[in-house]
C-alpha cells in the first residue's frame, strides 16, 4: 500500500482533535472534582443501598448492595421493554394490515389510531394512562372481580398465582414438544423438496404442544393449583389484595403507553413493507395457482419482511430508550432506581450516569445485533 500523506493527514487531524477535546473535558472534570473534594470511584457499588424498591424481579431490599439495586432497575427496564415490544409488534402488525383493508370502516379507524397516537408526546400519553387510569379505577374494596379471580383496582391488577408441583417435569414436556416440532418441520421440508408431498405441520405442532404437557399432568405427577387474591383490610377505608400476584398500575400504564405509541410507527413500517412488494409478484403467484393465504405467506410476507425489519428495529430501540420516562410515574426502572435514588444517596453523579449510559448503549446494541441477525436470516439468499 502506498503511503499517501494527503489522504491520511485529515484523518489524523480529526483523530487528534477528538482526543484533545476528550482530554480537555476529562482533565477539567478531574480538576474540578479535586478542587471540590469529590472522590471518584466505583467502590460505592458494593455498599449497602438502604432504600427499598416498590417492585423487583429478583430478591431485593435495602440491605442489599447498590449493585443489586442496579440489577433491579435494569431487569425492570428489560421487563417493560420486552412486554412493550411484543405488544407493540402485535398491535402494529394488525393495524398495519388493517390500514390496507378494503373495508372503509376498518381502514379509517386504523388510520385515525395511527395519526392520533403518534402525534401526541409520549410523556403526556404516559401521564394520561397513569392518572386517567388511577382516577377511573375503583378502590380495592369496590372492585368487581373479573371471572371471579382477577381484580383490577387503583392499586394494581391482582391475578391468581400459580402454585406448581413437579414444575421441572412440565418444563421438560414443553421442551420435548418443541424439539419434536423442529424435527418434524425439517422432515416435512425435505419430504416436500424431494417428493412434493405436504405434511400438515401446523396441526401436528399444536397437537404435540397440547398432548405432551397433558401427559405430564396425567402420568408425570405434575399438578397446578391457584392462589386467588383475597381482600385484606388495612384500615377503616383502606384495603389491599393479598395472595396471588399484584401487577402495579405503574407497570400497566407504562406498558400501555409505550406499546400504543410505538405500535403506530410499526404499523406504518408494516404498511410500507406490504405496499413495497410489487403488484406483479402477487399476480404471478396467483397465476401459478396459489390461494390468497399462500400468496401472503409464501410470496408477499417474505419480501415485505425485508422492508419491514430495519425500520422496525429502530422502533424497538426507541421503545427501550423511551422506557426511561418511567421515572415520571414511579415505575422503578433503571433511571428511577439507579440514576435517581442511588445517585442521590451516593452523590456519585459521573460514575452512575456513565454506568447508566453504557447500560442503555449495550441494551440498544444487543437489540440491534439480534434484529440484524434476523434480518440476515430472512434476506434473499442468492444461489
Amino acid at each position: 500500500m502506498k503511503f499517501n500523506i494527503k489522504k491520511i493527514a485529515p484523518q489524523l487531524l480529526t483523530l487528534l482533535f477528538v482526543i484533545l477535546v476528550f482530554g480537555f473535558f476529562s482533565y477539567n472534570a478531574q480538576l474540578n472534582m479535586e478542587n471540590r473534594g469529590i472522590d471518584f470511584g466505583y467502590g460505592f457499588l458494593s455498599q449497602e443501598s438502604s432504600f427499598d424498591v416498590q417492585f423487583s424481579l429478583i430478591e431485593y431490599d435495602g440491605s442489599h448492595s447498590y449493585f443489586r439495586a442496579y440489577l433491579v432497575g435494569l431487569l425492570n427496564t428489560i421487563l417493560v421493554s420486552v412486554i412493550g415490544i411484543i405488544l407493540a409488534t402485535i398491535i402494529g402488525v394488525i393495524v398495519g394490515i388493517a390500514r390496507l383493508s378494503s373495508n372503509y370502516l376498518i381502514k379509517n379507524t386504523a388510520a385515525f389510531y395511527v395519526e392520533f397516537f403518534r402525534n401526541i408526546p409520549l410523556l403526556l400519553q404516559i401521564f394520561f394512562w397513569y392518572f386517567a387510569a388511577l382516577r377511573a379505577l375503583p378502590l380495592p374494596q369496590d372492585t368487581e372481580s373479573i371471572m371471579g379471580v382477577f381484580y383490577l383496582t387503583i392499586k394494581g391488577l391482582f391475578i391468581p398465582a400459580f402454585i406448581w408441583e413437579n414444575f421441572n417435569i412440565f418444563l421438560y414436556s414443553i421442551i420435548a414438544a418443541v424439539v419434536s416440532i423442529v424435527v418434524i418441520k425439517n422432515y416435512a421440508r425435505r419430504k416436500q423438496e424431494n417428493e412434493g408431498k405436504q405434511i400438515p405441520v401446523f396441526l401436528i405442532s399444536i397437537g404435540l404442544l397440547l398432548i405432551l404437557p397433558l401427559l405430564s399432568f396425567l402420568i408425570g405427577g405434575v399438578s397446578l393449583s391457584f392462589e386467588i387474591p383475597v381482600l385484606k383490610k388495612l384500615a377503616k377505608t383502606s384495603y389491599i389484595y393479598e395472595g396471588g400476584v399484584g401487577i402495579p398500575p405503574e407497570l400497566i400504564a407504562l406498558t400501555l403507553a409505550l406499546s400504543l405509541y410505538t405500535a403506530t410507527f410499526i404499523a406504518e413500517c408494516v404498511r410500507a413493507g406490504i405496499q413495497g412488494v410489487g403488484k406483479g409478484q402477487k399476480e404471478a403467484a396467483a397465476s401459478i395457482g396459489l390461494n390468497p393465504n399462500q400468496i401472503l405467506k409464501l410470496v408477499v410476507m417474505p419480501q415485505a419482511l425485508r422492508i419491514i425489519i430495519p425500520p422496525t428495529t429502530n422502533q424497538y430501540l426507541n421503545l427501550t430508550k423511551n422506557s426511561s420516562l418511567a421515572a415520571a410515574i414511579a415505575y422503578p426502572d433503571l433511571v428511577l432506581v439507579f440514576a435517581g435514588t442511588a445517585l442521590m444517596q451516593t452523590g456519585k453523579a459521573i460514575e452512575i450516569v456513565s454506568i447508566t449510559m453504557l447500560t442503555y448503549l449495550s441494551l440498544s446494541l444487543s437489540i440491534s445485533v439480534l434484529m440484524n441477525w434476523y434480518n440476515k436470516k430472512i434476506a434473499i439468499k442468492e444461489k
Binding site: D39, D61, L134, L234, I329, A330, T341, Q345
Partner: protein, 346 residues
C-alpha cells in the same frame, strides 16, 4: 545615563508586576464566589420547584418563602439589594450537582443536613433555618390515627432522592411492617397519585406535608399523623472550598435569627443604632467592624434586617400567615422554648 533609566524602568516594571500579583492574591483571598457574585450583580440561588412557605413562585414569578429569604439576605449583605437574586428551581435529584458544578452559589432548598452529604460530596452545610421531621399524611376517614395503626401491605407515596426513602425503610423495618414504596420524581405527581387513592399514606417532611395538603383536591379530608419518625434539620448549603463565602451565608442566616432574639425588626432597625445594648449596636453596624472579615462594609447586617426582616418576621410572613404551620414548634427561639440558638455576632 540611558542605561540607568533602562534599569530603573525594568525595576519599576518588576515591582509593578509584583504589586499587581499581591493585590490580585488579596482579592482572590476575599473569595472567588464573592468576587464573581459582585461582578455579576446577583446571587445565584437554587430553590425548590414549588413548596409553599419555603420556596414558591407566584404567577408573576416572584419567589417567596423562608428558604428564599436566606438567599435574599445574602444578596442584601453582599450586593446591598435583597431583590438581586436569580432563582433556579431544582428537583431533589439535580440540586447537589447544580451546586457542585457551579451553576448556583447557594442551595436553599429544604435540604436535610446529614453526615454523608456534608462530608462526601463536596458540600458544606452552613446552618439550620428550619427544624423538621418526617411524618405521615392519611385520609381522615381511614380510621388511622397513629403510625401504630399501620398494617402489613400498606402503600406509601413519596419522592425519590431524599432522606425520606431511607427513613421510611428504617421506620417500617423497625416496626416489622411490610410496605409498598411508590416513589416519584416530582412532588406534584406524588400529591396527584396519593390524592387519587393510589397510596394509603403520603410521607415526607412534616412541613412539606402541611404545605402539600393545601394542594389536595379536598385538603380537609386529610390529616398529618402526630408521630415524627426522623430528624430533618433543613438548611442552606454551599460548595466546599470557599471559606469566606461559606461564612457570609452562615452569618447572613445567623443575623436573621439573632436579630429576632434582640427584637430588631425591619421596622425598627434604624432606630436600634442608638440602642444601649452593644450586641444590638454590633448587629446594626453601629459598633465594631464585623463586615471587614468577609470583605464587606459594616452595614451588611443592617441591610439584611431592613430589607428581609428577622427570622420571626420571615416565618410569620411565609409559613404562619398562609396557615401552613402556624405553631412554630421547635423553630422558636431558645429563649421562648424552641431550639433556635445561634452563636453570637461579635
Amino acid at each position: 545615563m540611558f542605561k540607568i533609566v533602562k534599569q530603573l524602568t525594568s525595576l519599576v516594571a518588576v515591582f509593578a508586576v509584583l504589586f499587581a500579583f499581591t493585590t490580585e492574591t488579596m482579592a482572590a483571598k476575599k473569595s472567588k464566589t464573592l468576587k464573581n457574585t459582585q461582578k455579576k450583580g446577583f446571587v445565584r440561588c437554587g430553590v425548590s420547584q414549588g413548596l409553599p412557605g419555603f420556596s414558591n413562585a407566584d404567577a408573576a414569578g416572584n419567589w417567596t418563602g423562608v428558604d428564599v429569604d436566606v438567599c435574599r439576605a445574602v444578596a442584601a449583605a453582599v450586593l446591598g439589594d435583597a431583590s438581586k437574586v436569580k432563582f433556579t428551581p431544582l428537583s431533589a435529584k439535580e440540586r447537589f450537582t447544580a451546586l457542585t458544578s457551579g451553576e448556583i452559589d447557594v442551595l436553599s432548598r429544604n435540604t436535610t443536613w446529614t453526615l454523608s452529604r456534608d462530608a462526601d460530596i463536596g458540600l458544606t452545610f452552613v446552618g439550620v433555618n428550619f427544624y423538621d421531621g418526617q411524618g405521615f399524611m392519611v385520609r381522615k376517614n381511614s380510621g388511622i390515627n397513629s403510625v401504630n395503626d399501620f398494617k402489613d401491605g400498606i402503600s406509601a407515596c413519596t419522592n425519590i432522592g431524599t432522606t425520606t426513602e431511607l427513613n421510611m425503610r428504617d421506620f417500617f423495618n423497625s416496626k416489622g411492617i411490610s410496605y409498598e414504596p411508590v416513589a416519584f420524581e416530582k412532588a406534584d405527581e406524588v400529591v396527584a397519585a396519593y390524592d387519587a387513592g393510589r397510596c394509603d399514606t403520603y410521607t415526607t417532611d412534616k412541613s412539606g406535608l402541611a404545605a402539600q395538603r393545601t394542594k389536595m383536591s379536598n385538603p380537609d379530608d386529610h390529616m398529618v399523623l402526630p408521630e415524627t419518625i426522623s430528624k430533618e434539620p433543613l438548611g442552606p448549603v454551599v460548595r466546599q472550598g470557599d471559606a469566606v463565602w461559606e461564612d457570609i451565608v452562615r452569618w447572613s442566616l445567623n443575623t436573621m435569627i439573632e436579630a429576632e432574639e434582640y427584637g430588631i425588626t425591619s421596622a425598627n432597625a434604624d432606630m436600634m443604632k442608638t440602642s444601649d445594648n452593644p450586641a444590638i449596636k454590633r448587629l446594626v453596624g453601629a459598633e465594631g467592624e464585623l463586615g471587614a472579615a468577609f470583605g464587606l462594609d459594616n452595614e451588611w447586617s443592617l441591610r439584611i434586617i431592613k430589607q428581609v426582616g428577622n427570622y420571626g418576621e420571615s416565618y410569620e410572613r411565609n409559613i404562619a400567615a398562609p396557615g401552613i404551620l402556624p405553631d412554630r414548634g421547635p423553630n422558636q427561639l431558645w429563649t421562648k422554648g424552641g431550639i433556635l440558638y445561634v452563636p453570637p455576632a461579635r
